[in-house]
């Protein structure tokens, strides 16, 4: 099922990409809603690693919490308080549908590769910043720590392997995917990576639901340059990746203009949807270097207002 070597490769590439960025310390807007400990100072005393303040010891404080070094400088006893820290939950949805397996050129990896790479690179950054990262499908509960990174890599890598290897799985997998917003942690962050070429209704529903739950995030549309350019001509039968959808034309070149119109319309619709729900939208091409998209994602998750 999951090939350790493949996931290790994916993780290695992701870490290489993430290594060139400073650690992401996402600002948490909703500190109170989440109680898990993390790296975000909550501007009040609590459990954490960073120093917050000294306060005089109260009766009832355990003797072990008294900071003896500070207390020795005066007559009173002081307790050293630390800042209460909490982490942000970020959940990724990477489209595993068959449309993502498309690549317009032999030398170019399929779109799914790029999407998984971006997701994991962002995860590396986030986990370095102490955030908790998870996946919606296959569901991985958001956690922090390097072990989680390993789990993410295994899940993402396994997804790719399953898509490429098992013929039975291919039959099961749909042509186009829709994000699953059901398992999003409330008030967390979410990132959807897909080509969004399928029915936009699914995306709309998921986004609306996410917005209702206070989740904000980013839509990354990964497209192959061929899908952007439509460089076809002559008599052609176009088929979706599974062959379920097909369209025959005698002069493919004549369709180009209208296809591009529809694509632009789809992008506009996604951008509008994102604006409406407070999300951010990016269209990324698999021929471009992934660093630009990662930077954008970094900023989108950091600012995200």
């Amino acid at each position: 099922m999951t090939d350790p070597a493949a996931s290790a490769r994916l993780r290695g590439r992701a870490e290489t990409l993430a290594g060139s960025l400073p650690p992401l310390l996402a600002e948490a807007e909703r500190l109170a809603a989440s109680v898990m400990l993390g790296a975000h100072g909550r501007r009040r005393a609590g459990l954490g690693d960073e120093f917050w303040q000294y306060r005089p010891a109260h009766p009832g404080d355990e003797a072990r919490v008294i900071d003896w070094r500070r207390s020795a400088r005066s007559d009173a006893h002081f307790v050293r308080e630390k800042e209460w820290q909490a982490a942000q939950s970020v959940v990724f949805w990477v489209d595993g549908s068959r449309a993502m397996d498309f690549s317009g050129d032999r030398g170019r990896p399929p779109k799914a590769d790029r999407a998984r790479l971006l997701a994991l690179a962002a995860s590396v950054l986030l986990i370095k910043g102490g955030e908790r990262v998870g996946l919606t499908a296959p569901a991985v509960t958001p956690r922090s720590g390097n072990a989680q990174l390993l789990r993410l890599a295994m899940s993402l890598g396994g997804m790719g392997e399953a898509g490429a290897a098992g013929a039975a799985d291919i039959e099961d997998t749909a042509d186009y995917g829709a994000p699953q917003a059901g398992s999003l942690p409330p008030h967390g962050r979410a990132v959807f990576l897909s080509d969004f070429l399928g029915d936009p209704a699914g995306v709309e529903a998921a986004l609306t639901r996410a917005a209702d739950a206070g989740v904000r995030g980013a839509l990354v549309q990964v497209l192959d340059p061929v899908e952007e350019a439509f460089p076809f001509d002559g008599r052609t039968i176009f088929e979706s990746m599974s062959g379920a959808l097909r369209h025959e034309t005698l002069r493919a070149g004549d369709l180009r203009g209208r296809y591009l119109e529809r694509l632009a319309e789809r992008k506009d619709r996604l951008a509008a949807l994102a604006r409406l729900t407070g999300w951010q939208y990016l269209c990324h091409h698999s021929a471009e270097p992934p660093l630009g998209a990662l930077l954008w994602l970094y900023h989108a998750l950091e600012g995200g207002r």
Binding site: G104, R106, R235, F238, L250, R251, R262, L263
Partner: protein, 943 residues
């Protein structure tokens, strides 16, 4: 058949099919290409879109053109095109095909037979009776003048054709005229001329024209022939002839003969250039006597006829004759015993003077002792050995010989006869009788046939002791029967004694021409020019090797000898075939040409049609066109597949645009290829670096240690690592800072760049080629050093030779390796940098060998070392696997363990020190040895 220019069509009506091509064009355009299936996720966005125009894309024009061409080629092919279609040769009635069949025809005999075959085929088609006649080999019935040529069915001649072969001589004018006179009836004549003018040719033409028309076939290629080379002024003059004049032309003439191994090879080569308009070209060849004497024939390169070959005989051979007389005293030159010999021999031989030892070293063919009586026993022994091996010793008598005891009691091995005491004098002032004349030479004498001038008289001579063998040994005698010249065989050689002096003191013989001729007959001297009939009188010459018309020499087999006077007057002909003739030790070549031969092109009257030899054959073109059509159809198939994306099955989704541009690029590449093929040689003008440059630059960037590549990857890697380790140590400890070591292929790489070659020996290493050996020897001679390492510590079972050692011996067989000895204790290697006494590598039990010290090297009292100043040993041979001890890996750590524990590390250290000493020794030579002199030098400076 329908003829269009040089091409005829067998089925011309099929060409109408070409008219259907435009129709096909329209048809092909209308049929749409097959749809392409593409996987494309964006199809979701395409759903519901409709085509504007329900018409497909057209097939590209070039594909249509390709199909048109293919079809056109097929139509043309089936129309049966033929190149050079034959319009039937005119003529009927009997046909006489005449060929010269001379040596000049041999050069293109194959084409002549082809032409004759073609003519025969034509005649067979026309049903004409044919006769084929070769002028050098006239049919038997024609020789006696009865009957004409034998006209037969053409097919019968085809089987007889191989029997007609050219002869290495020219047609005999007289017999041809006789044959022509006997011709009867009317017939047409095709004459395949060899292109040379001859007597009797116009007459023959006239005779043939009386019987019918004559057509002449002649090759326009120039005819070359070689005159017998002559020896003039110390060089061989080679003269080539050509028929007629022409533009500037260059031919190469090769002198061939047995090489040192006995196999025939080219000994010298001369380029002859005919000036424009000249019919002769001459070149002069300067050759060493040894080389010149080996030449057996001269040959024009690339010409296959007897005329292009000139066999050489004694005329070119110059013998080395050594002259020894009695110790010179002040005397008149004319009285010197050697004067007349010198005069007689100098024009035709190479004379050697000097001391006895010098003479034998020069390996003379003949030694002449004029009045030399006593030889030291040692000289006698050497002279006898030389004679036994085939030397000719000629002795002349004289006062000293007469006065000595040589061959008096017992026959001296170096004298043919025993001598009587004192000799005799006749016809002098104080004696009775008249000076004696010579008796005619006997039939078995080598001088038989020579004319004896009347004025040759003998006044004094030494007398032979009567003996049973005397008469057999006498080859010339005086009129009264006393021997004048005697001869006996000694081993393979012979000893000849002239019973008179070599000067005019005792006889007038040395003053006469007979003296020279006699020396000539004895093969002391060789004749400079062709002998005349008088000289040849009485000799019989047996053919040894004969030439055929193609210039191939064959053994003559059993043939009767020819009298000399006939041979010398003969031209090459049926009775005197050209070749090499022999009489005793003398050889005479009879060549096709002689010194006076001139080649002239045949002149034909204006009304005679002269055609070339090349028979124009019908060439059916159908298969070429069919192949072209097939190839075009295949191209069409490929192009169609490319267009429909079937060629790019590997890609998950190819685009038609890419396929199209790919096809276009392919076409362009094809066109460029065709252009390049049609225009080779251009476009590679500049930026040519020689293949070895990078190697040379790397090797000369600094001091580079090198190892010989053995072909065993592991051994080579260890050698490389070992030299790297040694280079590191040198860099650390000394001022020698070698660059990265290099592997050297001794077959291909230049060796001169490296001060030292480390050569690990493996048991299955290939033996270097002769070229590589030459390079290695040159390397050793010019100061390179090779370190051989058998890497086995001489450890062999039962004291035998290890396989590596055996291989080393085989390899070293071809190398100039001086005598070797184990490294002496005072060798410079022991103190070139470190003081060492052992030369361990990974092993330390093997013996290390270097060039042995000169035998006269002595240790001087008080000096620690012998005085061994000169020479650096060219080889160091050992078996301690030094490279393994030196080898380090990429991290600078030793690759192999040496010994055990601390002692092992010590051994490795000593191995490194040996390496340092070795490199120091190679780079500085015997500098350390010269240090021995420092005290002496200092002392001298102090004074």
């Amino acid at each position: 058949m329908w003829v269009l220019g040089p091409i005829g069509f067998a089925a011309p009506w099929l060409l109408l099919g070409l008219g259907a091509l435009p129709l096909l064009w329209l048809l092909l355009r209308a049929v749409p290409p097959a749809p392409i299936r593409r996987r494309f996720p964006g199809v979701a966005l395409l759903l519901g879109l409709r085509d504007d125009r329900p018409e497909t894309d057209r097939t590209p024009w070039w594909l249509l053109l390709l199909r048109m061409l293919a079809l056109a080629a097929a139509i043309l092919a089936f129309a049966g095109p033929v190149l050079n279609p034959k319009a039937g040769e005119a003529g009927r009635g009997p046909l006489l095909i005449l060929t010269d069949g001379s040596w000049a025809s041999a050069r293109d005999w194959a084409r002549r037979t082809d032409r004759i075959t073609a003519l025969l085929q034509d005649a067979a088609r026309a049903g004409r009776p044919v006769a084929v006649v070769s002028l050098t080999d006239l049919p038997a019935q024609a020789k006696d003048g009865a009957g004409g040529p034998q006209f037969m069915e053409a097919r019968a001649w085809e089987s007889r054709l191989p029997n007609i072969q050219p002869k290495p001589w020219a047609p005999d004018a007289a017999s041809v005229a006789r044959w022509a006179a006997a011709l009867q009836g009317s017939f047409q004549t095709y004459w395949l001329s060899d292109g040379l003018a001859r007597d009797g040719r116009p007459a023959l033409l006239a005779a043939l024209e009386r019987h019918g028309t004559v057509r002449v076939f002649e090759s326009p290629r120039p005819i070359y022939a070689l005159r017998p080379p002559a020896f003039r002024d110390g060089a061989i003059e080679v003269t080539a002839l050509r028929a007629g004049t022409g533009p500037r032309a260059r031919i190469d003439v090769a002198a061939r003969g047995p090489g040192p191994s006995g196999a025939e090879r080219v000994l010298a080569q001369a380029a002859l250039t005919f000036a424009p308009g000249a019919s002769e070209a001459t070149a002069r060849l300067q050759l060493q006597p040894e080389l010149r004497n080996r030449i057996t024939r001269f040959q024009i390169d690339g010409s296959r006829s007897a005329g292009a070959i000139s066999l050489t005989d004694d005329a070119l051979k110059r013998r080395k004759v050594a002259l020894m007389g009695p110790p010179d005293r002040e005397r008149l030159q004319l009285l010197s015993p050697l004067f007349y010999l010198r005069e007689a021999l100098a024009p035709t031989t190479d004379l050697i003077d000097g001391s006895f030892d010098d003479i034998l070293l020069a390996a003379p063919d003949v030694i002449i002792l004029a009045d030399v009586a006593k030889l030291s026993p040692n000289q006698e022994k050497e002279l006898l050995a030389w004679t036994r091996k085939g030397g000719l010793l000629v002795r002349f008598a004289g006062p000293r010989l007469a006065a000595s005891d040589v061959s008096r009691e017992a026959e001296d091995p170096l004298m043919p006869v025993r001598l009587r005491l004192g000799g005799r004098t006749v016809g002098g002032a104080m004696s009775w009788g008249q000076p004696k004349t010579l008796a005619p030479f006997a039939k078995d004498s080598p001088f038989y046939g020579l004319t004896i001038p009347d004025d040759v008289t003998v006044k004094a001579q030494v007398l032979a002791q009567p003996d049973p063998t005397l008469s057999k040994r006498t080859i010339a005698s005086l009129a009264d029967g006393t021997p004048l010249v005697t001869r006996k065989a000694v081993g393979k050689g012979q000893v000849v004694l002239f019973h008179v002096t070599a000067n005019a003191e005792w006889s007038t013989l040395p003053l006469s021409g007979l003296f020279v001729q006699m020396l000539n007959r004895l093969a002391v001297s060789t004749r400079p020019e062709r002998p005349d009939a008088a000289q040849m009188k009485g000799t019989t010459w047996v053919p040894v090797r004969l030439l055929d018309a193609f210039g191939t020499a064959r053994d003559a087999g059993q043939m009767a000898g020819l009298p000399g006077e006939r041979l010398v007057a003969a031209q090459a002909g049926p009775d005197t075939p050209p070749g090499l003739y022999r009489s005793d030790d003398r050889r005479l070549a009879l060549n096709v040409t002689d010194a006076k031969t001139v080649l002239k092109p045949a002149a034909w009257p204006a009304d005679i049609e002269v055609e070339g030899l090349s028979a124009a054959h019908e060439t059916p073109l159908a298969w070429i066109l069919l192949c072209a059509a097939l190839i075009l159809f295949l191209l069409d198939l490929l192009a169609s597949m490319a267009l429909s994306g079937h060629l790019r099955r590997g890609a998950r989704a190819g685009t038609q645009a890419e396929a199209r541009s790919g096809a276009r690029a392919g076409t362009t590449a094809l066109l460029v290829l065709i252009a390049l093929a049609a225009n080779p040689g251009q476009g590679r003008a500049q930026n040519i670096t020689k293949p070895g440059d990078a190697f040379a630059i790397q090797a000369t960037a600094g001091v580079v240690l090198a190892h010989v590549l053995t072909g065993d990857a592991r051994v080579d890697a260890v050698a490389q690592a070992g030299l790297q380790g040694l280079s590191d140590v040198l860099t650390e400890r000394t001022s020698v800072e070698p660059k990265t070591p290099m592997g050297v292929n001794i077959e291909t790489d230049e060796l001169a760049f490296f001060p030292i070659l480390y050569w690990p020996i493996t048991a299955d290493e290939p033996i270097p080629s002769a070229k590589a050996y030459a390079k290695l020897n040159e390397y050793l001679r010019t100061g390179g050093m090779i370190v051989f390492d058998t890497r086995d510590a001489d450890l062999a079972v039962g004291g035998a030779v290890t396989p590596n050692q055996r291989r080393l011996r085989q390899i070293a067989l071809g190398l100039d390796i001086p005598p070797l000895s184990p490294v002496p204790k005072d060798h410079v290697l022991t103190r070139a940098f470190y003081l060492i006494q052992d030369y361990p590598g990974r092993y330390d039990s093997g013996i290390t060998w270097v060039e042995a010290a000169p035998p006269d090297a002595k240790k001087v009292e008080g000096m620690p070392f012998r005085n061994l100043n000169d020479g650096v040993t060219p080889v160091v041979i050992g078996s301690n696997d030094w490279a393994a001890a030196w080898a380090v890996n990429a991290h600078g750590l030793p690759m192999f363990p040496v010994g055990s524990g601390y002692a092992g590390e010590r051994q490795r250290e000593i191995a490194y020190r040996f390496g340092v000493n070795l490199i120091m020794y190679v780079l500085t030579g015997n500098y350390k040895s010269d240090q021995v002199h420092v005290p002496a030098l200092l002392e001298r400076l102090g004074q």
